[in-house]
């Protein structure tokens, strides 16, 4: 490893993951964690033991590193550029932030970081900017495409928009969602790779993604989620809590982490206070473009003052210059046309934008700020003042989808998906002619313990039940298999354009779980992950002039299908009382003891012998006290009792004498108890 060859290798050391360095990982990791992150959330343990041996070497290295970092950082980056102009495409990194005022006076902040790595790296296995761990992942698991999202809260499709590209990309189901396309031919290999992938990601992101390993938790949709050839795997964990321990490893993938550039705005308390928080990693890899990863973080924040906010107020941090390694570093402010067009003075911007453009269809206006222009002395602080409070809504999906459970009790129920037209917002798209149809694709994964009967599918359109044949254009059902695989429903429906509302219901039975499938404590119920409702006829895209070169706005140009996720459902299952096994054990033991006692009794006894004894007993019946005395005296003398004396009373009916004895003993016991207690 040519550690001292070029200054840029030091940069690559500092900015790519420490995994790369096997010999000197300990000191560098240490420097990296104290100097670079300097935060409490570091969860990766320090590794490497043999490094202590080469102390002098380390101090030299440290010195070298410090001088380069403190004195020559700019020189380094310039130098690295200067060195690599000869080779073909280079690894690139760009950072962007998009701020968008929402109609309910909240603010959407969308962080977008893109790193690209050329297909054939000139440096072999080494990378300058690109995170090596991801590159290794892609190479090892032959991933074509992958998206991992951590989300907390719900995207409000009604208020925050549903059919613009930003909402389509941002709206993610709560918890973790992971899907990946593999470049592997056979199904078995894909499944095995998926399992390994979940474990790797689980380690990388400090999350329990490894629960997606089990075949009961992922599915392989063919066209409902994304058209593919059976090489897609999809899994969701609705209950996964998202926290700082997930964002720290995510930030480690960035070359500047959160120490410089736009990522330095990510003040943990501020971003986790938001109403919605979605952190994503999306990567694409192909032979043409190499690997592209998009790391995005969308947060919806509530400004303290509803009518006026600034970046500093939102994030409690200032943006002081770009990340030195970023090719471009830009902040955008997107303002929907519906907020501006009615009255130009509703919003007031403080701060001068570098460029103002509208998209092709004039849906929104973009104000662009180049972060390069700002520095520690002059921080970028965009300020927006609302002049007037008003109620507007953003572009809606053609049909508003919501999903809920029907019925009550622990036995059965129904899942209902209701689709309601948001007519007023998409009037232009509709005509009431007979041949006009809207297509809707529903993709839903149901865990096996919710046993859906797919034949009970009932479809209601505008208050009348419709034959499924008339409405369903295409359907693909994979029924669930107990403890093996979840049920998957992919369905393409065709509704007339003039439809106001539709509803689908599916009946299900609630299954019984095995005792170790329950969570260790009493629970609120089990989750059914969000369903995805997409509208293939509607494309969400915004095309901006080519003068803006931004990966974020480039991604808006793509033909993204309008889609929305439904709510997560909570199915209360029968929860047995787990103290019951204990009761059962005690009860069973009692029964067994009784059984064995009487069995042994029966086996041991000899009937004829007893009859003889009974006869001899009848002859002479000693009283209780003489019997006791003789017994005791026998014992004292150590003589084995005569069998005749030993036999107990075989009186079948216990006469008044026995009752008297019982009462007497009880009385003695009570008195004794009382005297012992009182003393």
């Amino acid at each position: 490893m040519g550690l001292f060859e070029k200054p840029k290798s030091i940069w690559s050391i500092l900015n790519s993951r420490p995994i790369t360095f096997y010999t000197s990982s300990f000191p560098l990791e240490k420097v990296g964690s104290s100097f670079f992150h300097g935060e409490r959330f570091t969860s990766r343990p320090l590794t490497g033991e043999g490094a202590m041996a080469s102390h002098t070497f380390l101090s030299l290295l440290l010195f070298y590193f410090y001088t380069f970092h403190l004195v020559h950082p700019i020189h380094c980056s310039v130098g690295s550029n200067a060195f690599d102009t000869t080779s073909a495409p280079q690894e690139e990194f760009s950072e962007e932030l998009l701020l968008k005022p929402l109609p309910d006076y909240k603010v959407l902040a969308h962080f977008h970081f893109t790193s690209t790595s050329p297909p054939s790296s000139s440096n072999g296995q080494h990378h300058h900017l690109f995170p090596k761990s991801i590159a290794q992942l892609v190479k090892k698991y032959k991933i074509r495409e992958l998206e991992l999202s951590f989300t907390q809260g719900r995207w409000n499709y009604d208020r925050w928009g549903a059919s613009d590209p930003l909402s389509t990309a941002n709206g993610k189901p709560p918890g973790v969602e992971l899907w990946a396309l593999f470049d592997i031919p056979t199904k078995e290999e894909i499944d095995a790779t998926w399992r390994n992938l979940t474990h790797s990601l689980s380690g990388l992101f400090c999350a329990s993604i490894n629960f997606l390993e089990s075949s009961t938790s992922y599915s392989a949709p063919l066209w409902g989620f994304l058209p593919n050839n059976g090489d897609l795997r999809y899994g969701a964990l609705p209950r996964e809590a998202v926290c700082t321990e997930n964002i720290t490893p995510w930030l480690k993938l960035l070359p500047c982490r959160d120490k410089a550039g736009i990522a330095s705005l990510l003040d943990r308390p501020s971003i986790y206070r938001g109403h919605y928080h979605s952190q994503r990693l999306k990567l694409r890899s192909d032979g043409l473009n190499g690997i592209v990863i998009e790391q995005t973080l969308s947060v919806v924040l509530q400004p303290i003052d509803r009518t006026s906010w600034s970046m500093h107020q939102l994030f409690k941090k200032s943006l002081m210059g770009k990340c030195a390694l970023a090719k471009s570093s830009k902040v955008f402010l997107e303002i929907e046309r519906s907020l501006v067009s009615q009255n130009e003075n509703i919003l007031e911007l403080v701060g001068e934008a570098d460029m103002v453009t509208n998209d092709q269809r004039d849906h929104s206006t973009i104000y662009q700020y180049n972060v390069e222009r700002y520095s520690e002395h002059e921080a970028l602080d965009i300020r927006v003042n609302w002049k007037k409070l008003l109620q507007v809504s953003f572009l809606q999906t053609p049909l508003h989808a919501s999903r809920f459970l029907m019925g009550s009790g622990n036995e059965r129920g129904s899942i209902a998906i209701s689709l309601q037209s948001a007519r007023n917002s998409t009037k232009g798209l509709y005509d009431n002619s007979k041949n006009c149809f809207t297509r809707v694709v529903i993709f839903q994964v149901v865990p096996w313990y919710v046993k859906v009967y797919y034949h009970t599918l009932r479809i209601y359109v505008d208050g009348a039940i419709r034959d499924a044949k008339d409405v369903v254009e295409k359907i693909n059902v994979t029924p669930s298999e107990d403890k093996v695989s979840p049920g998957t429903l992919e369905m393409m429906l065709q509704f007339p354009c003039g439809m106001m509302s539709a509803a689908l219901t599916l009946d299900f039975d609630k299954g019984f779980l095995h005792i170790d499938e329950y969570p260790p404590d009493a629970n609120q119920g089990f989750d059914i992950p969000s369903a995805l409702v997409s509208f293939p006829d509607f494309i969400s895209r915004r095309i901006y002039p080519d003068s803006i070169s931004s990966p974020l706005l480039q991604s808006y140009k793509g033909r993204n299908i309008v889609k929305s996720y439904t709510e997560v459902l909570l199915v209360p299952l029968t929860t047995p009382d787990f103290s019951m096994p204990y009761n059962v054990i005690t009860f069973t033991c009692t029964v067994l003891a009784l059984y064995f006692g009487s069995m042994v009794n029966v086996l041991r006894r000899r009937v004829s012998e007893e009859e003889r004894l009974a006869k001899s007993k009848d002859k002479r019946k000693p009283g209780l006290i003489p019997l006791l005395i003789s017994k005791i005296s026998n014992k004292v003398r150590g003589i084995k009792e005569d069998s005749a004396n030993q036999s107990q009373s075989s009186q079948p009916i216990l006469g008044p004498k026995v009752v008297f004895k019982v009462v007497l003993i009880a009385l003695i016991a009570v008195l004794g108890h009382y005297f012992f207690n009182s003393s």
Binding site: D104, Q152, G153, R154, N156, P174, P238, R273, G274, H275, Y276, Q302, S402, F404, L405, M406, G407, S408, G409, N410, S418, Q420, Y460, D462, G463, A464, I465, M500, S501, A503, T505, D521, A522, N523, Q524, G525, D527, E567, V568, L569, L570, P572, T575, S598, N601, V607, E610, E611, A614, K615, D618, Q648, S650, P652, I653, L654, V659, Y674, N677, S678
Partner: protein
């Protein structure tokens, strides 16, 4: 029966082998059946009477609830906003221009200002139909016909928890009556809305919410329960067929975690001086189901220890004044004192006044559970397995004064805020504490393990008596009981007919209740006569009265045990009536040696023949509870209608268990004793 056979065999063989211990014990019990039954019955009665002594203090079992751990943040600002709403409602009500349309609109407007999703839920009065076959199952889902009926409008607002996942919801219900908006307790009714609004406005800004909040301002023109149950039915079983506009606007918020119903009631000044605001808790749902005790505990804890509000639960005032109960209380106190003088560790001494109050509360608790009719809108939630409770807040001072109203709203609002916060903390369903309990005070309860004892004592002698009677009969054929199956079959067929008759009677419209009652009685008599004609006389020569009694006792004990699973309180009260009937039944013509005992038993029998008749039994029960002045036997039809209107299993018990028992009792009484 097996026991008796074994015992008989044992008798036969004098030189029999030694039998097993259990068998011998059973034989012992059977041979001393009279003693056992008397002891058991007395023990049962005494155990029932000492239940108030055995009550334990309630405690919060689920640690996650953390009641009162956060300071309430409901402020005067929220309350003042709520006060504005109250004033607006009052002014609309005074204008008298369609308040039933304007008030929901107004509430919706206020909700929208808070950023809540709102909609109106329209419902009509349900037909009080008798469906004998739909007991225990949800009522058939008939499409509502809103066309020409008058309908109520509830206003519903939903706050989505900012960072929650929307899987669960807490429901707040505040009933108000638009019909009576300008009436006497208008300010109280509007205050319920105001109270809900103050909490709602606080919650709409709360960042700590994990569950969505639904506020249902329910229109109680058809009663509090109707609107809530109609809304819940549409929430859980929407009807997609027909007019789709109502299902379109209906919004939902996940599985319900808990329901809190609260209303403000301004009570007339009582003679007793109230030094505090009072909240009365109602918890009984249909068929004796109760919400989890933790929910009541949270409310009680917050009200008493945080807000200084007095908590009450239902109590029979008549029993407090009753001399009998007072004497009992004195006796208990003396016994307790005596026990304590014997051993200072035995601390079951209870002041007699406390005992009297405990008994009155316990009686009310048992009675409301036994009736099987919910005591408020919370009952509708329990039908969907949601824990819910109704809080009835009554202020210390009049609500007409603005200052006292604000102070009252602040207190009440903080109580509800604390409860919502506790439930919000819950990660699990309510499961930790009791579901089966009676309350003897707001902070004292008798759990299922304790209150089962008196019932067990009362029912225990029945099989023993049946066995010993079976054993005493002259016929030695083990299948001899089959002869008595015929009268049993007749009686039970008859009781089924009697159960179903009201369904047909209620189809004949516009009959006054006395006529219905007479028709029912006449029909039942006719059915009995017809059954006798078809099956012949019940007194065939093989039917010995002892056998008949044994079979009757067996069938009754099965019925009681079944009922104790469905609704324990009903079985408990029923056992008090039925068990003496079973034990004392003796034919008039039977000859015995001791004429004194015979005459005493005969008197008891005759009294029980009258009191055991379901009609008189119900009247007697109501008389004991509510005072005899108000009771009339002719109201039986109405009370039965009330029971089946609420799908109460008590109706089934009365007609399918109690009535046949009484008829068999009469059969035994008039047995010819050949």
């Amino acid at each position: 029966m097996e026991v008796a056979e074994v015992e008989a065999e044992v008798e036969k063989k004098a030189t029999a082998t030694r039998s097993r211990l259990i068998v011998r014990l059973a034989a012992l019990l059977v041979s001393h059946s009279t003693l056992v039954s008397v002891v058991c019955c007395l023990a049962g009665l005494i155990a029932l009477l000492v239940l108030p002594l055995l009550a334990k203090n309630t405690y919060i079992s689920e640690n996650a609830l953390l009641p009162g751990s956060a300071n309430p943040v409901l402020s005067y600002q929220h309350v003042t906003q709520a006060n504005n709403l109250i004033m607006d409602i009052m002014s609309i009500a005074d204008d008298k221009q369609a308040p039933d349309i304007e008030i929901p609109k107004l509430i919706a407007k206020y909700m929208e200002i808070l950023g809540a999703e709102t909609y109106h839920h329209k419902f009509s009065q349900p037909q009080n139909q008798f469906h004998p076959l739909y007991f225990f199952s949800s009522s058939p889902n008939s499409p509502p016909t809103l066309a020409n009926l008058s309908y109520g409008t509830s206003t519903v607002g939903i706050i989505r928890a900012p960072r929650g996942d929307g899987k669960e919801a807490i429901v707040l219900v505040s009933p108000y009556n638009t019909q009576n908006a300008g009436g006497i307790d208008a300010s109280a009714s509007a205050s319920s809305i105001g109270l809900a609004f103050s909490v709602f406005s606080l919650l709409s800004r709360a960042t700590w919410l994990a569950k969505d909040i639904i506020w249902v301002a329910s229109d109680s023109r058809f009663g509090d329960h109707t609107s809530v149950s109609a809304w819940l039915n549409d929430y859980h079983n929407p009807n997609f067929i027909g007019d789709a506009s109502s299902t379109r606007i209906f919004k939902r918020a996940g599985t319900m975690a808990c329901g809190i119903v609260f209303k403000v009631v301004e009570k007339e000044r009582r003679e007793k001086y109230e030094d505090r605001d009072v909240v009365t808790l109602y918890a009984e749902a249909s068929n004796g189901q109760m919400p989890n005790l933790d929910l009541l505990n949270v409310v009680h804890y917050l009200a008493v220890h945080r807000q200084g509000i007095r908590v009450r639960i239902g109590m029979f005032g008549g029993l407090v004044k009753s001399h009998l109960v007072r004497v009992l209380g004195e006796v208990m106190q003396q016994v307790g004192r005596f026990a304590r003088s014997l051993n200072p560790d035995w601390r079951f001494e209870m002041p007699s006044s406390e005992y009297v109050e405990g008994t009155a509360t316990l009686a009310s608790s048992i009675y409301s559970q036994a009736l099987g009719v919910p005591t408020g809108p919370h009952g509708a939630f329990r039908d969907y397995q949601v824990d819910a409770v109704t809080l009835e807040l009554s202020p210390r001072f009049s609500l007409k004064n603005e200052h006292t109203r604000l102070a009252f709203l602040l207190k009440g609002g903080r109580l509800i805020e604390g409860t919502v916060r506790s439930v919000n903390n819950l990660l699990e369903k309510f499961h930790q504490s009791f579901f089966l309990y009676f309350l003897t005070a707001p902070n004292k309860f008798v759990s299922v393990g304790v209150y089962m004892i008196p019932f067990a004592f009362l029912v225990a002698p029945l099989p023993i008596i049946a066995a010993s009677l079976f054993n005493l009969t002259s016929n030695r054929n083990p299948w001899r009981w089959l002869h008595t199956a015929k009268p049993l079959l007749i009686t039970h067929t008859w009781s089924v007919v009697v159960t179903l008759l009201p369904f047909y009677i209620s189809k004949i419209s516009d009959l006054p209740s006395t006529h219905c009652m007479l028709t029912w009685a006449g029909g039942s008599l006719m059915a009995l006569v017809i059954l006798y004609i078809v099956f012949g006389s019940p007194y065939s020569k093989h039917v010995e009265w002892r056998l008949l009694k044994a079979v009757m006792i067996a069938s009754v004990s099965i019925g009681l045990c079944l009922m104790s699973i469905i609704n324990f309180a009903t079985a408990q009260i029923g056992a008090l009536f039925v068990v003496p009937m079973c034990l004392f039944a003796l034919p008039i013509r039977v000859k015995t040696n001791n004429s004194l005992i015979r005459s005493m038993v005969m008197t008891c029998n005759l009294v029980m023949a009258v009191l055991g008749f379901p009609v008189t039994a119900v009247a007697l029960m109501q008389g004991v509870i509510k005072g005899f002045g108000t009771v009339s036997i002719l109201e039986f039809w109405d009370s039965m209608k009330f029971l089946w209107g609420w799908n109460s299993a008590t109706y089934l018990y009365l007609v399918l268990v109690h009535l046949p028992c009484w008829l068999l009792f009469l059969h035994i009484l008039f047995h010819p004793c050949r």
